[in-house]
């Protein structure tokens, strides 16, 4: 059997990671692999297909990068939710027609 692989499967716990985080991470890696994503018993299963066969070491490297990215995406989601209110305040102030830089005082609450 050849050592080189064209596919591999990575599984994420759906209780821990969101489907969206996994999808976004797969998108970022679309040059390295295409992913068929499905949910089986609350497990997010990703079948990765590589454009050219990879050695065991190469496959592990790609899988690790993918896992790290899923974790990053998950953290980004948390951060996004946690900072949504303050982000809206900042954006509203920054792009309001009046206030901040001109005549009208604007409170920050």
């Amino acid at each position: 059997m050849s050592d080189n692989m064209t596919t591999s499967t990575v599984i994420f716990d759906g209780n821990v990671f969101s489907l969206n985080a996994v999808k976004k991470a797969a998108y970022r890696h679309l040059k390295a692999f295409t992913a068929d994503i499905s949910i089986i018993d609350k497990q997010i299963q990703c079948v990765l297909t590589f454009p050219t066969p990879l050695s065991e070491k190469g496959r592990l490297q790609v899988e690790n990068e993918f896992k790290k990215e899923v974790l990053d995406q998950d953290l980004r989601e948390q951060l996004h939710v946690e900072t949504a209110a303050v982000r809206n305040v900042i954006l509203a102030h920054a792009f309001s027609k009046t206030g901040l830089t001109t005549d009208e005082p604007v409170s920050d609450n």
Partner: protein
């Protein structure tokens, strides 16, 4: 009562802080770069990032102090932070309200050079068919002055614009006359290879404060190989023109741009040395754009982004060393990015704007009266794709042109803030949307960023600049100077 705080006040505490919106992207194996809404950045290692996000960071941790000072978190001592961030963000986008400040007039498509990579498809020097008419120029001027921008820069382009110098004179005189009542901050630039420069032209430029922007690709052999012309003396003419122009207009009234070709890639030191020898204060190490003959002759594909990045890094390292040895010399692409990193002032460089710079940053009035959203848009049109043609100076109003779907659709679709991958990319505040590039290369305004060479080139450049600053205090001081020029 003691005038000092109690010792407990200075004990590390588990702090209660609120996170502010920011984005993070890996910088290397171990570190991340974080940017806030205003584009300020900070570098953290992975454990510190995780501590920050989990609210585990102690308020005496040096990273905590930095994060608070740069608006990544706030606590009871920094409640003003959202207002400050709003102000910075507003300043950053101020240019949008100014609208189009740069107006490019393609006064002729004729050229006496025949550069194989030319980004504008050249035409024979002899035919008048490719000159802008005075009627079209007049209408274009009316449109340029309709822009709400207080700063109007009119840049004459070609072909070789000096082949139609009488029209340049007419436009300059008419613009000055109209501006007597409008009172705008008006500036003129001629983008010329200087081969045809003479005393009469220079006198006119001096009398009307016209800047000259020329092309210098490097040392003689490289420049002449890149820019064939009858007599094979492009370099000699350019250098002579630079000297003459400086004598008449002043040293700083002449700038130069280089074009990177396959032949340039192994010569970055020679190219920089040539700029130093010609007493320029800096260089713009440009990538080759994929338009015009560059794409037609496939010279764009002759090298890839990786090779350009090597060229760029070698060039930047060399320039840093020049400065370390006491020679004041800048790299302008880095300077634009650094200005975005360290100031709230957007330099308005069309390729690095989001919303895209098309139409907003620049408008192009082509020799035949067609109006395009950027210089690249008209280059694409020369290849038969007029997707970014906004209309015609003689048949469309200002409102027609600048609310045309050919402008608004790509602007809206390509806005990086809402594009996959760009949306959560820490480099988004420094990057651009570039719908024209992505349309030319991928057939749509956005493209998949993991496959985009534009994305790869910029992301690696941002990383390189930040890593340089992290590892070399001299480079950091130098880069801060460039940012604040």
């Amino acid at each position: 009562m003691s005038q000092f705080q109690t010792i407990e006040r200075y004990q590390p505490t588990r702090s209660t802080y609120q996170l502010l919106p920011f984005r993070f992207t890996p910088l290397d194996e171990h570190q991340y770069v974080l940017t806030n809404l205003a584009g300020e950045y900070i570098v953290l290692n992975r454990p510190s990032l995780h501590d920050l996000l989990a609210h585990r960071l102690s308020n005496v941790d040096p990273a905590y102090i930095d994060l608070r000072a740069r608006h990544f978190l706030m606590d009871e001592s920094a409640a003003i932070t959202p207002t400050l961030l709003s102000l910075k963000l507003r300043t950053r986008y101020q240019r949008l309200a100014e609208f189009t400040g740069l107006h490019l007039f393609v006064v002729t498509l004729r050229c006496e050079h025949s550069c194989p990579y030319c980004q504008v498809s050249r035409r024979s020097q002899d035919t008048q068919r490719y000159d802008m008419t005075p009627e079209a120029a007049n209408a274009a001027l009316t449109l340029a002055f309709r822009s709400p921008s207080q700063h109007i820069k009119i840049e004459f382009q070609g072909g070789e614009p000096l082949l139609n110098f009488p029209l340049i004179q007419t436009i300059v005189l008419e613009a000055e006359s109209r501006n007597q009542t409008l009172g705008k901050d008006l500036a003129f630039v001629i983008a010329t290879n200087l081969a045809l420069i003479n005393d009469d032209i220079l006198s006119f430029c001096r009398d009307h404060a016209i800047l000259l922007s020329t092309s210098l690709d490097g040392p003689k052999d490289l420049h002449n190989a890149n820019r064939p012309r009858p007599g094979g003396d492009s370099y000699e003419r350019t250098v002579r023109g630079i000297t003459l122009a400086r004598e008449v207009l002043g040293h700083d009234r002449v700038s130069a741009l280089m074009t990177t070709t396959e032949a340039s890639l192994s010569r970055v030191h020679d190219i920089i040395d040539e700029y130093v020898a010609q007493s320029f204060n800096g260089i713009f190490l440009r990538p080759l754009s994929p338009y015009g003959f560059a794409l037609k002759t496939r010279s764009y594909h002759a090298y890839n982004t990786e090779r350009w990045l090597t060229f760029y890094r070698q060039g930047l390292d060399y320039i840093i060393e020049l400065n370390r040895r006491g020679h004041d010399f800048a790299e302008y692409y880095a300077s634009i990015i650094l200005k975005k990193m360290f100031t709230s002032d957007d330099p308005g460089y069309v390729d690095l704007m989001s919303p895209a710079g098309i139409g907003i940053g620049a408008a192009v009035y082509n020799y035949d009266g067609s109006v395009y959203a950027s210089d690249e848009s008209r280059m694409l049109a020369e290849m038969g794709k007029d997707t970014f043609k906004l209309g015609h100076v003689l048949t469309h109003t200002y409102e027609d042109l600048f609310t045309s779907p050919a402008l608004l659709d790509p602007l809206e679709e390509s806005f990086a803030y809402s594009n996959p991958m760009c949306h959560d990319c820490a480099f988004e505040p420094y990057c651009g949307a570039e719908p024209v590039y992505h349309y030319a290369m991928h057939g749509d305004f956005v493209a998949r960023k993991p496959e985009s060479e534009f994305c790869r080139r910029n992301m690696e450049t941002f990383r390189y600049l930040i890593l340089k600053m992290e590892n070399d205090p001299f480079a950091k001081r130098l880069f801060l100077q460039w940012a604040n020029r």
